[in-house]
Amino acid sequence: MSEQKQTEAEVQGAAKVSGFRRGLRGFQGFREGTTILIIVALGFAMSLLSPYFLTGDNFRNLFMLFAINGFVAIGMTLVLISGGIDLSVGSIVALVGVITGSLFFNAKMNIWLASVIGILFGTLCGFINGFFITRVGLSAFITTLGMMQVARGATFVISAAMPIPLQSIPPAFKFLGRGIIPGIGVPFVIVLFIVSAVIFDFLSRRSTSIRKIYYVGSNEKAARFSGVNVNRVRIGVYVLSAVVASVAGVLTIARFNSATPYYGDTIAFETISAAVIGGASLNGGEGTILGAMLGMALLALIQTSLNLLDVSPYWQNLVTGLILLAAVSLDFLSHRKRA
């Protein structure tokens, strides 16, 4: 009994360090909360600075800005949790758009069937990523860097590097990307995105399959020594990442009425940044879908704010980069003293 007390005292003692470090610990304990605070503070400041900020239109634009890439961020977060990285998502978004667009425009195929075929090809890219990473044993960085180039190249070959015009797509398909749900006045894509994010966040906390991703990312060998089929989990995350990127590819062409071969070259970096701002670690084992979504929201908010304030778009990358560095530095400092 006295030993028990002593252990408790030790743990309390360990918590009683300096105020600064305690603050960092709190930060690390509830990363989502901190991100929400920053978002609210920034939103409040913007509502004072710009009369347009608190309007329905602005919010709709804000959400549209990150809804489609938000799908990609879901997959990216799971890849990061597994301890991997997927640089090829942006190319897959473009490739699926171009395959689907080309089947519809050039081959006169039904747009829905074309979309399914596009998504299948995108999924295949993810499977190839997973195969090279697990069976051949290449690093995730190199494999997906290669896939990024291959898929982008295929996009150019298929489209001859020209945008494919899709004005003639049926209205039902257009609705996916631009339709507004009558009654509530919210775009369909936003609802779809929010529902998916909520479901994935729930699953990431409760599902046995996603829990295995955390185990693999936390300690791959220990996962193997606990009977987890590590290769299946790792292939699974790259396939899932490619599937959500493919869905994003279809939604993108539905929204823009065209399939653009150059589209999406920054999506990988944007989604990695968002996930990391939201608490994911490049070492794996950590991160949440909610955190990544908040990270996306913060990045979109900053972008809109800079637009509303008439700041040159050239500044946007710079600011985004600084925020990422700040978030990662804080994360590093809060982890460093723990070991």
């Binding site: 030993e3 028990q4 252990t7 408790e8 005292a9 030790e10 743990v11 309390q12 003692g13 360990a14 918590a15 009683k16 360090v17 409760r206 599902s207 046995t208 399959s209 829990r211 295995k212 955390y214 185990y215 936390s218 300690n219 060998k221 220990a222 996962a223 193997r224 020594f225 606990s226 009977g227 987890v228 089929n229 084992g285 950590e286 723990r338 070991a339």
Partner: protein, 502 residues
């Protein structure tokens, strides 16, 4: 008696609310090996870290050659002649031995290029002082050396400069028996030169081999300092744990052994081991002994499907096992405890509950969704049953002591109610209290009808716990001991076959 070179006077240190060291007074004489022992968390490392400049004492002083000194960091300590060889080897693997040893002085006097000729010669001189057993070439890359050779390099690095005090923290943790002997020969040479050698270890047997003086720490306090010749092992253990440990080892199996649980016939893994045959019977603990590298771990992992066997057969309760992976073994009721707790066993950044539930997530899930309540109550059950000291099941593994981490690891295996457990070095790096609990647990499992195999490099525990012992030598099974044949001498003779017969 020679005056002490190094003294610590009234040293105290707190970490938060924990009194890590309280009013420690020790003096270290030249030409003596002074062992400091104690359970994990007793304060040995903290004390050495203060002497080595890693930590600062809150109160008290360190006195070197009669003068109080202020050691601000490890570099200060080195300049004052205090060398510290840490438990983990911290050498740059991809550069040469000479460069490692002279790392600090490579750019002395603003020299732009490395004077390879000079440092190689200096290193050769240093190496020559040591036992020729080391056989180290100064130009060799560290990565090409064996662990014991690397340790020699570490020691020489610590000695370079004007070393008066050499601190060794668990230096034999990664060494085999014969390598340990080489190390001891080196330490005796250094002793003869009048160095103070401070030796921290868990292994009582080897402390008697090397130490002149023994100090025992417990809960941050100095319990006593005695000449090694005047204290026996039982008394020492008593000082360490503060209670009688008359039954470190549980009683061996008394009842008739039951039916055969696991049968292994002519098992082989190409290039590693071959011809392994034994039968494990209900109610017994079977030990695997042999030198590190003799193939014991590989045999265990092959039985469990972690490695693919190249020949032979494994039968569980009479049925042949064909395992495609470790998952299959778990499904059959065969589990393996890894010898590498941190790197292969635990999810250090995850909590206790997550670590315990990992093997059979479906047991705490409904419709593939994990039920937190079920997961936590499973964890709480094992925390109580195994007497794991935690603040709660949500505590992160990293913040637990080695012994408690090990208990979590064992709990994880027991969640699937195994028929056979194979434990690879189950007591490595844990304190004697936790060790005893593990021994009693293994015996209880055996009595309850679970087949237990224990691989261990610590001969006293093999002798104290096992009912039969399979001894391996260089990938071959070279003997099976039972009953009164099980003693340290006969195991060593078998395990070091070549050295004794040639």
């Amino acid at each position: 008696m020679d005056p002490a070179i190094l003294e610590v006077r009234n040293v105290s240190k707190r970490f938060g609310a924990t009194q890590a060291l309280a009013d420690i007074n020790l003096s270290f004489a030249p030409g003596k090996v002074h062992a400091i022992i104690g359970e994990n968390g007793a304060g040995k490392s903290t004390l050495m870290n203060i002497v080595g400049g890693v930590h600062q004492a809150d109160a008290g002083e360190v006195v070197l050659e009669g003068r109080p000194v202020h050691i601000r960091n490890p570099h200060d300590a080195l300049l004052m002649g205090i060398g510290f060889v840490h438990q983990e080897i911290a050498l740059c693997q991809h550069i040469s031995v000479a460069e490692n040893i002279h790392m600090r002085s490579l750019d002395e006097g603003g020299r732009p290029l490395v004077a390879f000729k000079e440092i190689n010669r200096a290193t050769r001189d240093l190496l020559a002082d040591f036992d020729t057993h080391a056989h180290i070439n100064p130009k060799q890359k560290v990565a090409e050396l064996s662990v014991s050779q690397q340790q020699v390099v570490e020691i020489i690095k610590a000695l370079s400069g004007n070393c008066k005090v050499l601190i060794l923290d668990e230096p034999t943790a990664a060494l085999t028996q014969s390598e340990t002997e080489v190390l001891f020969r080196i330490l005796n040479t250094l002793k003869a030169k009048g160095l103070v050698i401070i030796y921290i270890s868990h292994r009582l047997a080897e402390i008697y081999q090397i130490a002149d003086t023994i100090s025992v720490l417990r809960d941050g306090r100095l319990i006593g300092t005695r000449p090694a010749g005047e204290i026996d092992q039982l008394e020492l253990v008593h000082m360490m744990v503060g209670r009688e440990l008359t039954d470190i080892y549980p009683e061996k199996a008394r009842q008739e052994l039951g039916e055969t649980l696991l049968e292994v016939e002519d098992l082989a893994l190409e290039g590693v081991f071959s011809g392994i045959s034994f039968a494990l019977r209900r109610g017994e603990i079977l030990g695997f002994a042999g030198l590190v590298g003799s193939g014991r771990t590989e045999v265990a992992r092959t039985i469990c499907g972690l490695y693919r066997k190249s020949a032979g057969e494994v039968r569980l309760k009479g049925r042949p096992l064909e395992l495609a992976s470790y998952r299959d073994a778990i499904a059959q009721g065969l589990v393996y405890l890894t010898e590498n707790r941190a790197s292969e066993g635990l999810f250090l950044e995850m909590n206790v509950a997550n670590n315990i539930s990992v093997i059979d997530l479906d047991a705490v899930a409904r419709y593939k969704l994990i039920q937190r309540r079920a997961e936590h109550s499973l964890a709480r059950r094992f925390v109580t049953e195994m007497q794991i000291k935690v603040t709660g099941v949500l505590q992160r593994l990293r913040s637990l002591s080695g012994g408690n981490q090990q208990k979590v690891l064992v709990s994880k295996l027991l969640t699937v109610s195994p028929k056979v457990v194979i434990m690879d070095e189950p007591t490595r790096g844990i304190d004697i209290g936790a060790k005893t609990q593990i021994y009693h647990l293994l015996r209880r499992l055996a009595t309850e009808g679970v087949g237990v195999i224990m691989i261990s490099s610590e001969l006293p525990e093999v002798v104290g716990l096992c009912d039969r012992v399979l001894v391996m030598y260089e990938g071959r099974q070279c003997g099976m001991l039972a009953g009164s044949e099980i003693n340290e001498k006969s195991i060593i003779q078998l395990a070091c076959l070549r050295e004794y017969t040639s």
